[in-house]
């Protein structure tokens, strides 16, 4: 297979075939497309391909190196697993959207220049919003609209940044960018939106929980990790990212503790995990960048697994609110088990994937002397176990028995969850395979007695804290509520401002119209009085009266003459 053709074209163009087939044939097609893409991926030689000149700049459609291959593998894997998970979905739009979206993310990962990156970047935005709108509720429509506006805005920033970068003498090639130029800053903002930097993050918590049960799983895999890839490519070693990342790990966990919608809790934990990757990229050492991208790889899988388990709950019970669930382990034992594997992986239990990836970032932070950052990351590690590791399985499957008795998730969902869970345990138990794919050689050894003991102490005592708070009744009960976040600025304050302004302007318009009407009415009446058909000036006068008046005037003239 020629490496000059973008690999992304296979899933993107293949998606066009999906509406044409039904039944078994569609199942085969949906699974064959990611599988064929994976085979293509394995055959790719390293190097730069598909190059041509445009306006004096070189475009590179395919840049194959260790970093792009790593993300390529996990994206195709995600596409395959989500395809299995979503096999029951009748809605053709969702299948097409998922394939185009995953394909576009793949295209962006292999893009060797900023223009090609921009094209794929925007396609991920346009295709992914369909997965939100496919829920077909009023809320989903609104959330999707906000999502797509922000995502397309990110693309615009990227394009503007690239243009500035090139006019300032930079190259269009997508390599290390850095913050030296204004263009670099704009591109960092564009990538920051995708990575959900603090204050740019709300689209994630807003939109992901409103998508369909399968759509959220697909969404969780691509957009934010594409952001992490772009950050690792363009901005490694940018110190600002260490602080941004540390803030990202810490603040979402407070929200996650009080959030009721369990898929929104997971959306906050996406943010928290991205923070670890952003810190790693900010540190910029070989071990830190290795850790960041390895954690992205592991995170895609365990986050999908967690969203899959919640999707199965949503499918069977119609809700994922902590207030309405509980005791589901009785009806959905397999889903419960897979959810716990995902929870153990995100919490970085030894033998699960998070343990061998997240610790590389933490160890790099410690060895670079970022003590405060390391403490924040440790706090976030305890916090993520608390809200994603315990809260998610506990409130959905255990807690008080809600009385809901439903069927276990359908077989294809269980298969998708089982495969994903196997990968999570596989990476955690045999990290060498993943380490061999990382961009730099790995010397880090995750399994030392000291590291295992430290991590187990941290996790067991976090669990004890949860149990103590639960048994003493101090733990805050789940409540039906909306928790205001930074998006209040545009959803609350912004909306109010626009409404108030619109009210004022329309009042002005109404008053102006009223005045115009009055003024016009009066002038018309005056005109009518003087010039209308009945008015004095329009009257026909007899000739005699004119002669009479002339005579009177002449007599008056004579009279004045003699006086």
């Amino acid at each position: 297979m020629s490496a000059d053709v973008p690999i992304a074209l296979l899933p993107v163009l293949g998606a066009a075939l999906v509406p044409l087939v039904r039944g078994r044939l569609r199942v085969v097609l949906l699974l064959a497309l990611p599988a064929a893409t994976f085979v293509w991926l394995l055959l790719l030689p390293e190097g730069e391909f598909g190059q041509f000149e445009l306006l004096g700049q070189t475009l590179t459609l395919m840049r194959v190196d260790r970093l792009s291959l790593l993300f390529g593998y996990v994206f195709v894997l995600a596409l395959f697993l989500t395809a299995i998970y979503a096999l029951h979905v009748e809605d053709t739009t969702q299948h097409v959207a998922a394939l185009v979206y995953g394909g576009a993310a793949l295209g962006a990962v292999f893009a060797g220049d900023l223009l090609t990156l921009f094209v794929w970047w925007e396609l991920t935005a346009v295709s992914s919003v369909l997965l939100i709108w496919a829920r077909r509720t009023e809320r989903a429509y609104g959330a999707g609209m906000r999502y797509v506006v922000i995502q397309l805005g990110s693309g615009m920033l990227l394009l503007a940044g690239a243009a500035l970068h090139v006019t300032a003498g930079g190259s269009l090639a997508f390599g290390h960018i850095g913050l030296e130029s204004a263009g670099g800053a704009l591109m960092l903002a564009a990538i920051g939106i995708k990575c959900a930097f603090p204050l740019l993050h709300n689209w994630l918590q807003d939109a992901y929980p409103e998508a369909t049960e399968t759509g959220t799983v697909v969404l969780s895999a691509f957009t934010t990790k594409l952001g992490i890839y772009a950050l690792a490519r363009g901005f490694p070693g940018t110190e600002m990212l260490i602080w941004i990342g540390a803030a990202m790990t810490a603040f979402p966990i407070f929200y996650a503790v009080i959030e009721n919608d369990l898929r929104r809790v997971l959306a906050y934990s996406v943010n928290n995990q991205l923070g670890f990757m952003v810190v790693g990229i900010g540190l910029g050492t070989e071990m830190a960048v290795n850790g960041a991208v390895a954690h992205a790889f592991a995170d895609i899988l365990f986050k999908m697994l967690l969203f899959m388990s919640m999707g199965a709950v949503l499918l069977r019970t119609g809700t994922v609110n902590g207030t309405d669930l509980g005791g589901l382990y009785k009806s959905m034992p397999w889903t419960t088990g897979f959810c716990i594997v995902g929870a153990a992986s995100i919490s970085a239990f030894p033998l699960f994937s998070g343990f061998v990836t997240k610790s590389m970032v933490m160890s790099a932070a410690a060895s670079e002397g970022y003590v405060f950052t390391w403490l924040v990351l440790l706090f976030a590690s305890a916090g993520v176990f608390h809200h994603a590791g315990i809260k998610i399985p506990y409130f959905a499957f255990f807690a008080h028995d809600s009385g809901i008795r439903c069927r276990e998730a359908p077989p294809h969902m269980l298969i998708a969850m089982a495969l994903t869970a196997a990968l999570c345990v596989g990476i955690g138990s045999f990290p060498a395979a993943l380490y061999a794919l990382l961009p730099y050689p790995v010397t880090y050894v995750p399994y030392t007695a000291s590291h295992v003991l430290d991590q187990l102490q941290l996790l067991v005592f976090s669990a004890l804290a949860f149990s103590v708070l639960m048994r003493t009744g101090i733990y805050p009960p789940e409540m039906r509520s909306v928790n205001l976040d930074f998006d209040w600025i545009y959803r609350g304050l912004g909306c109010d401002l626009v409404r108030t302004m619109a009210g004022i302007v329309s009042a002005w318009l109404v008053a102006g119209g009223e005045m115009a009407r009055l003024f016009a009415g009066r002038s018309l009446t005056a005109l009518r009085r003087h010039h209308g058909p009945e008015s004095a000036l329009a009257r026909t006068w007899p000739t005699g009266s004119m002669a009479l008046w002339v005579m009177i005037l002449l007599l008056a003239y004579l009279l004045f003459y003699y006086l």
């Binding site: 809320r139 966990i253 407070f254 929200y255 503790v257 009080i258 382990y329 009785k330 009806s331 160890s363 410690a366 060895s367 003590v371 390391w374 440790l378 706090f379 305890a382 916090g383 608390h386 255990f398 028995d401 008795r405 030392t448 007695a449 000291s450 003991l453 430290d454 991590q455 187990l456 102490q457 941290l458 996790l459 067991v460 005592f461 976090s462 669990a463 004890l464 804290a465 949860f466 149990s467 103590v468 708070l469 048994r471 101090i474 733990y475 805050p476 409540m479 039906r480 509520s481 909306v482 928790n483 205001l484 976040d485 959803r491 609350g492």
Partner: protein, 83 residues
Amino acid sequence: MQNDKRFWLDDPRNVTKLFRGLWAIGAGLVLAELFVHRHEELAFAGWFAFYAVFGFVACVALVLAAKEILRRLVKRPEDYYER
């Protein structure tokens, strides 16, 4: 379906057993420090039971801050944005 079936976890005594078991594991892990040679990049992380105390205190602080401060500030009715 299986409404009347009793599960092991339905009995509060078993939950208490689990709770006590967790404390026992925690105690075991702290005691294990005496036998494991620890190498920490940061000196204070080598203090006795550092991770255990940190994990417990961090989680209690997290929950209390979220409950007493954040929830008071940001909690609104469920239809807040739809009104």
